[in-house]
């Protein structure tokens, strides 16, 4: 058994990935990392945004040096096709005819203008599963709005709900929805593929990143619609826990502590040596502690100021208190747990060398995923896909090259 090759979930599935930037490529990455043959279609005439965005190896901006691009595109192939050339669109149509799924994230209407929308593509592949995933969906007054995950998080409520009550709506510091909605989109796509596996029926998915993101805020929406009350940002407090927060330690790093239960609180008391203030009547039960958060934070601030974050974390976890350290990217790379789990996979790229890639947050026991290769160079697989998969002759291929179709 151990010697037998373990099957990959999506073995035999081919995906034409017309998407770009963060969300679409992350959706297709799930399929690629679990065995599908995912072929990215890009073009130097309309360069994939992230190939122009750093971090670049050796600080040298080049389409094949971007770590931002690479991380979203492990295990994939890449062909370069100029979609604006009539022969380019025809070529993509031929590729779709032998594909099972198409992913795309253009502004609504773009693919229709190229003759590559779902209606056109299902003619060459009737059981196709296709997902479109622009910011705001295919219809409505905002359908043509442009933007990035960093501003979509604002529309979707994450700024309003991140920061301190007396401060500005800071937001998460990252293009947050780019790292939330791909999972929602992938759920829809894989569910549709499973339906196709069971029934043979394909379909089209109109995915609005905005509409997917809102499901991460469920209770806050109901606070508004059922209670007529606006949820706000609470800094690091939690309405159900006391103490609850991030505390600056002697070494300038932050420790987090969360006491939701009386058992957590007793562990917390033990961790800090049961000082007298923790035995005050108003500190004994969570309901009253919730009113004493300022004082709790002050005491914990003093305690943490005398310890490193690692010492604080050790004392807390040793007593069963939910706790941790606010880890920097550097610490994430050194994190013993992530190392044990092999979360960051090292893959060798022809121009970027050995680089780390994120892997899925889950492991399948019998048909595990695998990051099979580093991100592709622009047009790296032109010959393999166009001659091999589509069966173009050497002459046809050369003609396309000469006519600039493969730019």
């Amino acid at each position: 058994m151990a010697l037998r090759e373990r099957p990959k979930p999506f073995a035999g599935l081919r995906v034409t990935d017309l998407s770009w930037v963060g969300v679409g490529p992350t959706v297709a990455k799930y399929l690629a990392d679990h065995g599908a043959e995912v072929i990215r279609v890009e073009s130097a005439t309309r360069m994939e945004t992230l190939r122009r965005a750093g971090p670049f190896t050796n600080n040298e901006p080049h389409p094949d040096n971007s770590g931002y691009y690479a991380n979203f595109n492990s295990s994939k192939l890449c062909v370069s096709v100029n979609l604006k050339h009539p022969k380019g669109a025809t070529l993509v149509k031929r590729l779709v005819a032998v594909s099972d799924a198409v992913t795309e994230s253009f502004t609504p209407g773009t693919l229709a203008r190229l003759g590559l929308d779902y209606e056109a593509l299902r003619e060459v592949r009737p059981d196709l599963v296709m997902i479109s995933m622009p910011l705001f969906g295919q219809t409505g007054p905002w359908a043509s709005y442009m933007g990035y995950g960093h501003v979509l998080q604002a529309a979707a409520g994450f700024n309003h709900l991140t920061g301190w009550p007396d401060g500005e709506p800071i937001g998460t510091g990252v293009a947050y929805t780019d790292f939330l909605v791909p999972h929602v989109g992938a759920l829809a796509l894989v569910a549709a593929l499973d339906y196709r596996r069971r029934t043979g029926v394909g379909q089209y998915i109109d995915f609005s990143q905005f509409e997917g993101a809102i499901h991460a805020l469920g209770p806050a929406i109901l606070e508004s619609t059922a209670n007529g009350r606006e949820a706000g940002r609470l800094g690091n407090r939690d309405p159900e826990a006391a103490p609850h927060g991030a505390y600056r330690c002697k070494d300038g790093r932050y420790a987090v502590i969360a006491c939701f239960t009386e058992a957590h609180w007793e562990g917390f008391r033990a961790a800090i040596g049961r000082p007298d203030w923790t035995d005050l009547e108003r500190m004994r039960r969570k309901e009253s502690r919730l009113r004493e958060q300022k004082e709790l934070d002050r005491h914990i601030g003093f305690w943490c100021a005398e310890r490193t974050a690692a010492q604080a974390f050790k004392a807390m976890r040793g007593n069963g208190v939910p706790s941790g350290i606010v880890k920097s990217p550097e610490e994430m790379h050194r994190d013993p747990q992530l190392r044990h789990r092999g979360h960051y996979r090292v893959l060798t790229h022809p121009t970027m060398g050995e680089r780390t890639y994120d892997s899925p947050a889950f492991r399948l026991s019998k048909t595990p995923g695998e990051l099979t290769k580093a991100a592709p160079l622009l047009g790296e697989d032109n010959e393999r896909v166009l001659k091999g998969t589509l069966g173009l002759s050497d002459e046809e291929y050369t003609e396309l090259l000469m006519e600039g179709v493969l730019e």
């Binding site: 750093g54 600080n59 770590g67 007054p141 043509s144 709005y145 933007g147 960093h150 501003v151 604002a154 529309a155 994450f158 700024n159 309003h160 991140t162 920061g163 709506p169 800071i170 998460t172 510091g173 990252v174 790292f179 939330l180 759920l187 569910a191 549709a192 499973d194 339906y195 379909q203 995915f207 809102i214 499901h215 209770p219 929406i221 109901l222 508004s224 209670n227 009350r229 159900e240 991030a246 932050y254 969360a258 939910p322 941790g324 606010v326 920097s328 994430m332 013993p336 747990q337 044990h340 789990r341 979360h343 960051y344 899925p360 947050a361 889950f362 492991r363 399948l364 026991s365 019998k366």
Partner: protein
């Protein structure tokens, strides 16, 4: 929104019928059954599977699932059936009670698993065994079942047994380091996002494992999901920036640090809130001229209206710090006297990707979502009310998503599930009740 306007708006949202869960034979996952033992780390995952057609059965102890005590509560009245958290995360599921700590309870649970395709559970690694909910016991009960275990740090590794909650996931997952502000340090999102992230990522793992049954002779398998890893996947490009450049991206979150470089602030105050306008709000780059024209028409472009500035901004050249400050100050002044929706519409018209900073209430009122008939009105026939819930997160042309009604009462479906599905006689169900198994 004033009460009358709210009623008028709400009346446009079609109402779903009573007696949940509503049937959903047309979903892509119809025909599947999911047993849900999960806490905050897995309830949304199971709910989404249900909205795609799976029959989701929430298994609770007789005293009720712990998360029924999570606030906020409807009308602030705490109670087993009034948690808005519970409503949001468990809508459209069925609920049965079952004491897994009793032998008879475990037997009953395994009969349920035998009729299921997936089990979602969130117990700490190692502790599922005593509940009979460990992968081996479940595989014995049903070799075809996909068993999804969602934990703080995963099933293996030195941190596997550490206690954690949402803020710990945000901190140990590296996400919190990238936001906050200098004076007050890192900050988490008030509505728990480590929980949200691990739920949606676990849902992907679940459907991949269901799909894999086709390649794997119909066998199920164990899906081991880590909240820390889910959050680590939300670090934007900070992971690669450290790997490639040896630089730690960091907060403050009001700007955007990418590839080791801190960008200018991107949120600006307006007369009625805030707008988000990344990269100088388009004052640099291909939209620069159109944006400067806009400011100029209002007489607020200042020196930027000069041909030199225009030429410079259009091609994006690195700016000196005082030049950046001029652009930010110009943006801030322009926004401060205008409404956010007007600013967004104006900027979008000119090719700049702005968005409003919306609160939950403003999201509910958002014209885009209303135009797409996003919201669904869910009837709570038990209290004679109905409320607006988030609608389809995706529109599938052949197998639609469907909201399936309110969250279940504790044990509401005991008879239906144990009698109808498992075929237990009424006397047997009564006996299990007396023995305090259900």
């Amino acid at each position: 929104m004033r009460a009358a306007a709210e009623r008028a708006y709400n009346s446009r949202v079609p109402e779903r019928a009573a007696s949940p869960p509503l049937p959903h034979p047309d979903g892509p996952l119809s025909g599947y059954r999911v047993v849900d033992l999960a806490d905050e780390k897995g309830q949304l995952c199971a709910r989404l599977l249900g909205e795609l057609g799976a029959d989701v059965i929430k298994v609770e102890p007789r005293r009720g699932d712990r998360t029924r005590a999570n606030g906020p509560f409807y009308r602030d009245e705490a109670g087993r059936e009034s948690s808005l958290y519970w409503w949001a995360m468990n809508a459209g599921k069925r609920s049965v009670t079952c004491e897994l700590r009793l032998d008879a309870g475990r037997d009953l649970f395994h009969r349920l698993v035998a009729a299921a395709d997936a089990v979602i559970e969130t117990s700490a690694p190692g502790t599922a065994l005593e509940l009979g909910a460990d992968p081996r016991s479940l595989a014995r009960a049903n070799p075809g079942a996909v068993v999804v275990s969602i934990t703080n740090f995963g099933q293996t590794g030195p941190f596997r047994n550490l206690p954690a909650t949402d803020i710990v996931g945000s901190a140990m997952g590296g996400h919190m380091y990238l936001n906050g502000c200098e004076e007050r340090g890192p900050v988490r999102t008030t509505v728990p996002q480590a929980y949200a992230q691990v739920n949606v990522q676990a849902a992907v793992g679940t459907v991949i494992a269901l799909y894999a049954r086709g390649a794997n002779g119909g066998l199920g398998q164990h899906v081991d999901v880590s909240m820390q890893e889910a959050m680590a996947n939300a670090m934007d490009n900070a992971q690669q920036t450290w790997d490639i450049l040896g630089i730690n991206n960091h907060g403050p979150g009001s700007g955007r640090m990418v590839s080791g470089r801190q960008g200018p602030r991107y949120i600006y105050e307006t007369t009625d809130g805030w707008v988000a306008a990344l990269q100088m709000g388009g004052l640099m780059g291909p939209s620069a001229n159109a944006m400067i024209d806009w400011l100029d028409e209002a007489g607020e472009a200042g020196p930027l209206a000069s041909p030199e500035w225009r030429a410079r901004l259009e091609v994006v050249q690195p700016l000196e710090e005082h030049e950046q400050a001029l652009l930010v100050a110009t943006m801030a002044r322009f926004c401060r006297s205008r409404r956010k929706d007007d600013l967004v519409a104006g900027a979008q018209e000119r090719g700049a990707g702005w968005a409003p900073v919306y609160s939950p209430r403003e999201i509910v009122e958002c014209e885009q979502l209303v135009a797409r008939e996003y919201w669904v009105r869910v009837r709570h026939e038990d209290i004679g009310e109905s409320f607006v819930y988030p609608g389809a997160p995706f529109i599938l042309s052949a197998t639609p998503w469907k909201q399936r009604g309110r969250a279940p009462h504790l044990g509401e479906h005991n008879d239906e599930v144990y009698g109808g599905l498992l075929g237990l006689a009424a006397g047997e169900i009564a006996r299990l009740r007396r023995a305090m198994v259900i």
